[in-house]
Symmetry: C2
Subunit: 332 residues, 2 copies
């Protein structure tokens, strides 16, 4: 079913207010969840909201805690997320990275001690909306084996790159496993084989069977050994720049997944480009890509169409989860 965006936003906001959020923080936090569903990523929007509430109720996420600057060196800053709501912390830090980029050409905010940022792409869109290039990533709990091992020691650390473009930003938002855990679940439920191999089965064979991968826990990094290496490097940089936890220190229990480390980089894009050269460069690259075939899309291309449909027809929601959240809002 579909519900009006504003209805979704206000319902989530009411739940957050009932949990003790300050008004402006409830508004923003709810909006980021609602926008994620609006953009077609329900797994990190409405569908994720009940778990977020559970983590607040369990005391893992502190609704009153806002991110704070702990140290600064020119274009780079360290912030402490104080285990506050992950999307508010991430949004605050990308905002700060953008401000640093305006001053120094580039800005980098490393955030320790935060919680799950929900949809990583959110902060890419945020940077691009502000006219900046955005690059950000997060570490996660250990959920992906290094190459040559069956033990989950790496995170599938989502990695985001965004470039502004007036006709529609380019936003790459990818986890470093070939398929996210949400995607594996969807394929299993539909009884479909994965389009390409997504991991190993219990016997250590590469497989397209989502259920077999879920049960072995051996998801495949993108590019096999290459993605495993990239995951390790992103984890290290997040941990050392923020002074926060590395993946191996994060509890391997998704309801206790907390004290994550994240990096937000913004680069000035258009402030010195009065002639519009950079924008025209982006446009020509997109044109060349599109000339490669009718099925070729740039990262984020499908989002605008989904967003438009959501705003016209309403945001698509899972009926059971929507009912559950509405009951939370009513009883709050």
């Amino acid at each position: 079913m579909r519900v009006p965006f504003d209805d979704l936003h206000r319902t989530l906001e009411r739940v957050l207010l009932s949990l003790g959020f300050e008004a402006s923080r409830a508004e923003l936090c709810a909006r980021l969840f609602a926008e994620t569903s609006r953009d077609g990523v329900a797994s990190h929007g409405l569908n994720r909201f009940p778990r977020f509430v559970q983590m607040i109720q369990a005391g893992v996420v502190d609704v009153h805690a806002g991110a704070q600057l702990t140290s600064s060196h020119g274009a780079t800053e360290r912030w402490d997320g104080r285990r506050g709501p992950g999307n508010l912390n991430a949004h605050r830090c990308m905002r700060q990275a953008i401000a640093l980029a305006r001053e120094h050409g580039m800005g980098c905010v490393a955030l320790a001690n935060t919680n799950h940022w929900m949809r990583g792409g959110t902060y890419g869109w945020q940077a691009a909306d502000a006219g900046a290039i955005g690059i950000c990533w997060t570490n996660t709990l250990p959920n992906m084996p290094p190459w040559g091992s069956s033990q989950p020691r790496l995170g599938n650390n989502p990695f985001v790159i965004a470039v502004p473009r007036p006709a529609g930003h380019l936003v790459l938002d990818m986890s470093l496993s070939q398929f996210s855990f949400g995607a594996l679940e969807s394929y299993r439920r539909r009884g479909e084989a994965l389009p390409v191999t997504g991991g190993f089965d219990a016997a250590g064979e590469l497989t397209r069977d989502a259920a077999a991968i879920e049960s072995s826990g051996r998801v495949l990094p993108i590019g096999y050994w290459k993605g495993a290496g990239l995951s390790l490097m992103l984890d290290i940089i997040a941990a050392v720049l923020s002074g926060g936890r590395a993946t191996h220190e994060i509890p391997p229990d998704s309801l206790q997944e907390t004290a994550l480390s994240q990096v937000f980089i913004a680069a000035d894009f258009t402030s010195r480009d009065r002639a519009g050269t950079a924008l025209s460069t982006v446009e020509k690259i997109v044109e060349d890509l599109h000339a490669a075939g009718d099925d070729v899309r740039y990262p984020g291309e499908r989002t605008l169409a989904i967003r438009e449909r959501s705003m016209t027809l309403g945001v698509e929601v899972d009926e059971d989860i929507w009912d559950k959240v509405r009951r939370m809002a009513a009883s709050g």
Copy 2:
């Protein structure tokens, strides 16, 4: 066969001097080639040197041109490579990014109008040797199809991330195709199947047959659609930050592959870490990784062993290519 490192270095240097390089530039350029072979990456070391000489003789690479600063904004700078030797330009720009990082916490140099940087990992090792985190990438000629197309419109844009570590730096140096063109050639020559699918054959089927992929030209991006998206984003950022060419503007002929765009980012790592916390974080992450199994390696781990053997026993060289280069040096 193996030759002493110094012999390799001086032989290459003599060739470069005969081509008109100034003394200090010949020394460094030759050293970067020799170190690449020393580290076990002959494809971008000695084996690549004859093609480099050809490109100089064809006037594609200008031996006299050094990279120059064209504009600056705080922690970020634009440089013009003036179609000089790619490894000298890249080395100069990473050096500058490191200097900016010392001042601003992070530094970014975007380089336009340069030539092939040979082994990308060189500039990762350079940053790590200077105690900085290094991130760099280059665009290339169109050699990889976007997802959903059979036309090579993307580059397999090598991407490098390095983190300093006293017992051995971590250096990820990967192209965004599952196998480099050099790797495909090696598998074909040995008559071996690729360990995992590496591209499409002429019929559009995924295959582990290197020759079939070379002949279709349809190499697979790491992570399929994910690596294709990453390649596009890195190309855009390199082109817009440097003001230089995007992949679609680079001649699709490897002897004319010139006027590339590159990005060099360095981040301060240890200058504010007097307690050694960051180094100890890296060490603990490496320990946890190694605990995952005897076959598990961090990126760059094999390099130090190869390097040590090269320095003790001599650098492994292809006899034919070594003879050819020695003749160039003798006749120069």
